[in-house]
């Protein structure tokens, strides 16, 4: 009480101080920024590099944005689950297979939780994984190229939300279903949900060398909603924790019906135990149908394979593998501290934050203190597993991250703030407002044994008056706080692409030295590559025409093509012969019903053109490549379908 009074007085006096000495100021944040000379802390001089990478998901944009911290500068939007005309992702022939699913070509998804790969509990900067919520998928982005190189669809899942979190050595990337569904899917009345719908938690193994993903097993759990998850680490390595809501198993009006129980659960899954069970032949192979899409850097081409079965495990068949920890009330975030001892359940409808103890959980299990069961899964006593409670820290707790110095930082959606509190004593240390309605927050390395506790990024759903208005639809935002001191300090607001749902960050030095500059021409194994101008040609096969074309500053070879006819299907296979850093070329032709190509040095990409009109049609380089970029152009002569115009191609025949 004394503390509250003290901090109230402190806050009041700060407010008074700011309002009295700066009449023009409207917000405390602005005054704070001026007062603390904050600009210097986020200023990265022209030509200098940021200290951290931040990979911020695009939410409903389906993509992943790459920012620098502390500047908040946007470097790249990596296309993942949505087509991107700028980069031809999902438009060119090479990457279309990346978006294949059991439902056909799905050009969009809702990307949520990026997580960086780890080795020995520390992030290693090799890959970022991210989940697609809507048509359940997990993607892997290679951080040497910053390109999506693999996407695996998750069968028996719906609303792939408690995903995509990696274990301490990236043994698994885990994907849990938010919506429970009939498994296998079938035609049945919705009202028969209870007891019949199931929730699948998928453990996707990651090949340590290539990162290739494969669903090792799916744990078929009761029909709750599995909301978020985090792996155990250190002592709790080998366990995975999932928050649940809707333990009521409602199928309608969930805002009321899923808020009935005083407590839902955090499901603790001993995946090592299940892995052992599976390795010894346990589990049932069930028929399934899901896409596995792999991009091969040597052919610059993706391939989609439909997989036809998946191994499922009934938790009742593996005694001691799954326990339910009662957690008030509809917990959202499920966050594990760097030591692996504390599991924070952010009960979004609860007044308090609940923290469970891994040690106490093990003791309760050893002492067989079981309170009951849900469909055969033992429920432990709330009091037996409880480490502590952060009393009334704010309204609507969602997510918690850690600074590695014994502090935790929790976002509160309703009261729109970040609250810093101490692990072990559970006392609130500081609170800072967010503008507005914060969801996730991110400390670089936050989901690991070794967070880099210098900054926290809060990701806001609503900005209202924070930026120049842009009509009814305004940007969402991220806010950067300095957390190196006792008190947090708001440094910067920056707008984001789509919804900044969650993020992962790491020191730039982990990634920068490994970032590829070019693709080597000699390693290009694209079946339609032309690795020198001598290899360029035009080949007709019926009404299909393949053009093997090259680019270099500042011409296409060939750049005059004749003998194409209306009704042809023309494949432009373009190889960029450049072998220098940052010399891409682009290309498109008038009337192409697809996007441009943007081809990196040494790469081959393909677009399809189906000319519908007779004439001579120009194509040109779409990426300003050199002083002679405007000269980088060519013509295709299109003759009537029944004409006999011979197939010819050339470059610079009458030069000199």
């Amino acid at each position: 009480m004394k503390n509250i009074l003290k901090s109230a007085v402190a806050i009041l006096s700060i407010l008074v101080a700011f309002t009295s000495c700066n009449n023009s100021s409207k917000s405390g944040g602005k005054s704070g920024a001026l007062a603390g000379n904050v600009a210097e802390k986020v200023y990265v001089a022209p030509g200098e590099h940021d200290e951290f990478y931040a990979f911020i998901s695009g939410g409903f944009s389906g993509q992943l944005s790459v920012y620098g911290l502390p500047s908040g500068r946007l470097f790249k939007v990596i296309p993942v689950f949505s087509q991107d005309a700028e980069k031809a992702y999902g438009y060119n022939e090479e990457t279309k297979p990346m978006l294949n699913t059991s439902h056909g070509f799905v050009p969009w998804d809702d990307s949520h939780h990026p997580d960086i790969s780890q080795t020995n509990g520390v992030i290693d900067g090799r890959w970022v994984f991210i989940n697609g919520n809507n048509t359940p998928r997990i993607a892997k982005i290679d951080l040497s190229t910053f390109e999506t190189t693999e996407i695996i669809e998750v069968p028996n899942s719906a609303g792939n939300h408690s995903s995509s979190f990696v274990t301490e050595n990236t043994e698994y990337v885990v994907a849990g279903t938010r919506f429970s569904i009939p498994i296998p899917q079938k035609d049945m009345p919705i009202k028969d949900y209870k007891g019949n719908f199931k929730g699948a938690l998928s453990f996707i193994s990651v090949d340590p060398e290539h990162g290739h993903m494969d669903i090792k097993f799916q744990l078929i759990m009761p029909g709750f909603d599995y909301d978020l998850a985090h792996p155990g680490r250190g002592a709790s390595h080998g366990w995975f924790f999932f928050s649940t809501y809707n333990s009521e198993e409602a199928s309608t009006l969930l805002e009321v019906n899923a808020s009935q129980n005083d407590k839902d659960f955090i499901a603790a899954v001993n995946w090592k135990k299940i892995e052992e069970y599976v390795n010894n032949g346990g589990g049932t192979m069930m028929p399934a149908n899901y896409a596995h899409n792999v991009y091969d850097e040597s052919t610059h081409t993706a391939k989609s394979t439909m997989k036809k079965e998946v191994l499922v495990v009934n938790p009742a068949d593996v005694p001691g593998a799954v326990y339910l920890l009662p957690t008030p009330k509809s917990p959202h975030g499920c966050d594990v501290d760097p030591s692996g001892e504390y599991i924070v359940g952010n009960g979004k409808l609860s007044a308090n934050l609940t923290v469970h103890s891994f040690t106490k959980m093990l003791n309760a299990i050893a002492d067989k203190k079981i309170a009951g069961d849900a469909y055969g899964i033992p429920i432990l006593n709330f009091e037996d597993v409880l480490a502590g409670v952060v009393e009334q820290p704010g309204l609507g707790p969602l997510h918690t991250e850690f600074d590695g110095k014994g502090n935790a930082y929790t976002t509160f959606f309703i009261s729109s703030e970040v609250v810093k509190w101490k692990l072990g004593t559970w006392e609130v240390v500081d609170r800072q407002p967010c503008y507005y309605s914060v969801g996730h927050l991110m400390i670089p390395g936050g989901n690991s044994q070794k967070p880099f506790g210098k900054y926290v990024v809060a990701m806001n759903k609503i900005t209202k008056d924070r930026y120049l208005p842009t009509g009814p639809e305004v940007t969402q935002s991220a806010q950067l706080y300095d957390i190196s001191g006792e008190k947090m300090e708001l440094l910067l607001d920056f707008p984001t692409v789509g919804e900044p749902h969650y993020a992962a960050g790491c020191p730039a030095d982990l990634i920068k030295p490994r970032s590829k500059k070019i693709f080597k021409l000699e390693d290009n194994n694209h079946p339609y590559a032309a690795k020198s101008e001598a290899d360029t040609k035009v080949v007709r096969d019926g009404n299909v025409v393949h053009i093997y074309m090259t680019t270099i500053r500042s011409h296409f070879a060939p750049d005059n093509i004749e003998g194409i006819k209306v009704g042809d299907k023309v494949y432009f296979h373009i190889t960029n012969l450049e072998q220098d850093y940052d010399v891409p070329h682009g290309v498109s032709i008038i009337g192409a019903n697809t996007s441009e190509l943007l081809i990196m040095p040494g790469q081959t990409e393909t677009f399809v053109w189906e000319p519908k009109q007779v004439g001579v049609w120009p194509f040109y380089c779409t990426d300003f490549c050199s002083a002679l970029h405007q000269e980088m152009q060519g013509y295709v002569r299109v003759s009537p379908a029944n004409s006999n115009t011979p197939l010819k191609w050339s470059l610079g025949e009458d030069i000199e």
């Binding site: 070019i518 021409l521 000699e522 690795k531 020198s532 101008e533 001598a534 090259t550 270099i552 500053r553 500042s554 011409h555 070879a557 012969l577 450049e578 072998q579 220098d580 010399v583 050199s626 002083a627 002679l628 610079g652 030069i655 000199e656």
Partner: protein, 166 residues
Amino acid sequence: MKALLNILAILSIVLALSCGGKAEKKKPFSYEKQSTTETSTTVKSEKLPASKTVDLKNKGIGPISSITLDAEINQEMATHGADVFKKMCTACHRPDKKFIGPAPKGILERRTPEWVMNMILNPDEMTQNDPLARELLIEFNGSPMANQNLSEEDARAVLEYFRTLK
């Protein structure tokens, strides 16, 4: 003058339209067309174009400060160099005639071997700071010499191949 040109242009378009697209052989339009030989004589002074200038002292700017060529051409190296040249350079260079860039034929009669290798290995800096390379860039319409990221070994082999072009 400009107005006259415009009128001429419009007139020619009208003429073209009246022809109805029949592929008649039209008299090619020409306006102060430059040829490389003319450039050297008409553009200022008697100064030779950079592509013809002989400078056997300048070693250029880059990683190569000194190399010695054996009296005999190393055929094996030259063959490898020809292969590298074919793969990495022919998009802009023909061995014996001007293309996008100058022909390498006889280059060692005009340049030091170091300069040639530095031009291959360090073209960005060369075209910015080496006077001859800069003039070449202008002479060749600002078409940049692409850095194809050759290894020193490959660049050396290309140089050996150039020795065979006579």
